[in-house]
Amino acid sequence: MARKSHVQTTINDETVEFLCEPRQSLLEVLRDELHLTGAKEGCNNGNCGACSVILDGRLVNSCLVLGVETDGKSMETIEGLADPDKLHPIQDAFLENAALQCGICTPGFIMSAKALLDNNPNPTEHEVRYWLAGNLCRCTGYDKIVRAVLDAAEAT
């Protein structure tokens, strides 16, 4: 077994240190080492977006990033989005639009939507669909998800 590396990173504005094997993905580290299980594994090869997090301002599939690569970087995960007493407007919009059924894809969609709105606060429907095309949802048919993101854009 390869030796574990020491990594120091920032997650949701907190400094976090962990040890990980070189082969462990960021998704594994988040879920298994740091118990941040909001990011989900749907495919482990970059095709479903369920593991989406924002790394140094960029949306990434955490299953395609190695844990060791995050040294010195800063990331946002679904766990850091809400304030203690209030949900983020995207989260509210998902609830109000009933934009989730089973909910397994939801953290990934919300992080993708956050990255979109950070980049483009007033997207068109087509821009929303284009941006979210890396996230799979098998339950909703996407209709209510797209509406939720458009609503959230209006609210922010």
Partner: protein
């Protein structure tokens, strides 16, 4: 139809009760579960589609550092070749066990053979590669028509065709034959002026839930087995574990965690018994997770099928005869949904003369599992295409032709039973009046198609208990795992009875030790049957609280009535008290109130849908673009309309995927060559327009609020509707699914 009932809660759109946990990432799904001392399991799967297992040597894997235990089929109790009744239908126990871990033969690539528990998932995976399996390769058979040939390779040497009629004792891949017959089929075709006959092929598709299967199991020193997992039915898991492990149900507790999609694919168990065997062997809790390739190769797809449809009609549009042969691939073990397909194939129409034959056929593919209205989509692709063609030949609008022949209350279904009140005609009328159907359609390479569908829905057992809190809220305990917002739709039915807001109900889904038996979340039954149980449990609360009010007011119980959330006394004393205020007085009037109900309702009430779709065909590339989609559906009564719309939209999009892209692609060796989400391409939001879901409400007489299940029927019409739209656009009838660009180019003669 006059008299619309007024409801306070039903028909509104409250925020779902589990919503905040799910948008903040805090909800615990199966794979998120943690427990101290956890080991990680990994399953070794067959690289071959058909082979005899000569030997398995696990010694190298066992010696690998970090490995704590290895199991094979030897660790399963020897299974008898007998039928076990699992509540969800009868299953051959040997087949059930062999699909968990193969004993003598592997029957598909991906078939589980052995499993390792180790201190990390990586070690378990490495150790799997150290297991030596010697195979004797056998030729695979991968297609239903080939498997039915007399000289086809045989999967099960002792399998003979079972049918209600005469048995045959020759080994075969045809596991069963069923038939429905009504009227005189010859006479029916003789009467027809137009007869259309076509053959249809549908591909193997997967349910495609985003969350892979998972299980964590632990045996306590006292023999208590606990399994934490995501499943559509905790009690079904308990029953299957009891049969497979030959272990008493009283010693098994199944804890259902949040589930990331199922669509029928999370009813059968796969790795749950394996996790239990590993836990037993190691004495530690063991978590087993599938990866995406495991899910595609090792769990139930829905069957490919070959279907012939022949229908005849008179000049005036009356359909006089319908005949079909449905051959479904069961996968490696018997049990395709051909029975359901046979029930649904002509169900939307009132036809006097019908002959339906169904065949359940084993092939070297994973054992098929239910997928949303199982069997009905395959069948409707055939029927609804032929109905479209009849309409064209007769020069009648396809929607009118359906209206002329559509089944109504009192008509006899092709397989015999008489329909109670159903809403098929209403879905057709809603489609006919919809601005989509009345809008212009006529641009070059644009086409419009319509199709309808039926699903019968089921009832089955549900249990609910309600604890009344002193502040006038209730805790509602149920056993139906919540895949799509059913905590809300069940809670709302109790709230309606008690006259309290939906937010005053705390619904909780509990484990198998904590509630009465509850069947799976499937068959579109949850909002119907568990909702019915919630209604009855709430009525039980009302009854008990009336007695408390009578005590307080010193009146006779019969003199207390309850309406709109208020108890009041009639006859004599003028007393009134809200549900909330009386809830605060329970401790002074005899202690807690717990309402309970168990149900096994008949009368689930069938669901019908009619869909309209506009497409554009790119004649250069063969790609079909969905331009506009409208789905009308009879929901009986929509408890939470947003989630009904969501079910419709989700089902439609799964149907679009099935129609246009999705299929298992096999090579000649029987290996699936596209076992990833990259190559098995499900629709993304960029492939789609908004989906207009139109809810029609024809109350189901079999439910106090008129609910019909809504989850399944929306997947039924899309492939046929899209095929009909493609025909309208380019004049070519597509009879094979998926209608992918290469098939379209071939059909257009471009490649």
């Amino acid at each position: 139809m006059s008299e619309k009932k007024e409801y306070k809660v039903i028909g509104t759109r409250p925020i779902r009760h589990d919503g905040v946990d799910k948008v903040t990432g805090r909800a615990i799904y199966g794979a998120d579960f943690q427990i101290t001392g956890l080991l990680h399991g990994r399953v070794l799967r067959s690289p071959h589609a058909h082979a005899r297992i000569v030997s398995i040597d696990t010694s190298h894997a066992e010696a690998y550092p970090g490995v704590k235990g290895v199991v094979t089929a030897q660790d399963l109790p020897a299974a008898e070749d007998k039928m076990a009744d699992l509540g969800e239908g009868a299953v051959n126990l040997k087949y059930l066990c062999d699909n968990i871990l193969a004993s003598d033969k592997v029957l598909y690539k991906g078939h589980a053979i052995a499993a390792v528990a180790a201190t990390s998932p990586h070690i378990a995976e490495e150790a799997c590669e150290l297991i030596d399996v010697e195979y004797e390769l056998l030729p695979p058979v991968l297609e239903v028509r080939e498997a039915m040939e007399p000289d086809a390779p045989i999967l099960h040497e002792n399998l003979t065709t079972s049918s209600l009629g005469d048995e045959d004792d020759k080994p075969t891949n045809i596991a069963s034959h069923l038939q429905h017959k009504k009227g005189d089929i010859e006479k029916g075709f003789d009467e027809a002026d137009v007869v259309i006959e076509r053959g249809f092929v549908t591909g193997t598709v997967h349910q495609g839930y985003i969350e892979p299967h998972n299980a964590t199991a632990h045996y306590n020193q006292d023999g208590q087995l606990t399994v934490w997992c995501s499943t559509q039915g905790a009690f079904t898991v308990r029953e299957q574990l009891a049969e497979i492990l030959q272990y008493p149900v009283s010693k098994i507790k199944v804890v259902p965690l949040e589930i990331g999609g199922g669509f029928g694919g999370k009813i059968n168990v796969y790795i749950k018994p394996v996790a239990a065997l590993l836990a037993k062997k190691t004495g530690k809790p063991v978590k087993v997770l599938m990866n995406r390739a495991d899910v595609f190769e090792g769990t139930g797809p829905t069957p490919a099928s070959y279907i012939t449809i022949k229908m005849g009609a008179k000049k005036d549009g009356k359909i006089t005869a319908a005949q079909t042969s449905l051959a479904f691939e069961a996968g490696a073990y018997p049990g395709s949904p051909v029975g359901a397909g046979a029930m649904c194939v002509f169900a939307p129409y009132n036809i006097e003369n019908v002959l339906i034959d169904g065949y359940d056929v084993v092939v070297n593919k994973p054992k098929s599992a239910p997928y949303r209205a199982p069997g009905a989509t395959n069948a409707a692709f055939g029927t609804e295409t032929v109905v479209d063609e009849l309409a064209e030949e007769l020069n009648i609008d396809p929607l009118e032709l359906r209206l002329m022949n559509g089944a109504k209350e009192g008509d006899r279904r092709p397989d015999g039973p008489v329909y109670p009140r159903i809403g098929f005609i209403e879905t057709l009328e809603a489609a006919k009046e919809h601005p989509h159907y009345t809008s212009a359609n006529g641009k070059k390479y644009h086409g419009r198609g319509i199709a309808s569908g039926f699903w019968f829905n089921i009832g089955l057992e549900s249990s609910v208990t309600i604890n009344v809190n002193p502040d006038g809220t209730i805790n509602l305990v149920e056993g139906s795992t919540d895949i799509g917002g059913t905590r809300a739709s069940i809670a709302m039915q109790a709230a309606e009875v008690l006259g309290i807001p939906a937010e005053s109900v705390n619904p909780t889904v509990v484990d198998t030790n904590s509630i009465g038996y509850t069947a799976v979340t499937g068959g579109s039954r949850t909002t119907y049957a568990t909702g019915y149980a919630a209604y009855e449990a709430a009525q039980d609360v009302v009854k008990q609280m009336k007695a408390r009010a009578a005590k307080l007011w010193e009146v006779d119980e019969d003199n207390v009535q309850f309406a709109d959330g208020e108890f009041s006394s009639i006859n004599g004393k003028e007393e009134q008290m809200s549900f909330r205020d009386l809830s605060g007085k329970l401790s002074q009037t005899g202690g807690p109130v717990v309402g309970r109900a168990t149900m096994d309702p008949a009368g689930a009430g069938g669901a019908f849908a009619t869909h309209v779709v506009d497409v554009e065909v790119d004649v250069e590339t063969g790609k079909v673009e969905i331009l506009r989609y409208t789905a009308t559906q009879d929901a009986g009564k929509a408890i939470h309309p947003s989630y009904v719309e969501g079910q419709i939209q989700g089902g439609v999009v799964q149907g679009i995927g099935w129609a246009l892209n999705e299929e298992y692609i096999y090579n000649a060796e029987g290996e699936m060559t596209n076992a990833s989400f990259l190559d098995y391409r499900m629709p993304t939001c960029l492939d789609l327009p908004m989906i207009d879901a139109v809810i029609v409400e024809v109350p189901n007489p079999g439910h106090p609020y008129g609910v019909r299940g809504v989850g399944e029927v929306p997947i039924v019409p899309p492939p046929a509707a899209i095929a009909n739209a493609i025909y309208d656009a380019i004049g070519i009838r597509m009879t094979e699914l998926p209608m992918s660009p290469d098939r379209l180019l071939k059909a257009m003669g471009k490649i």
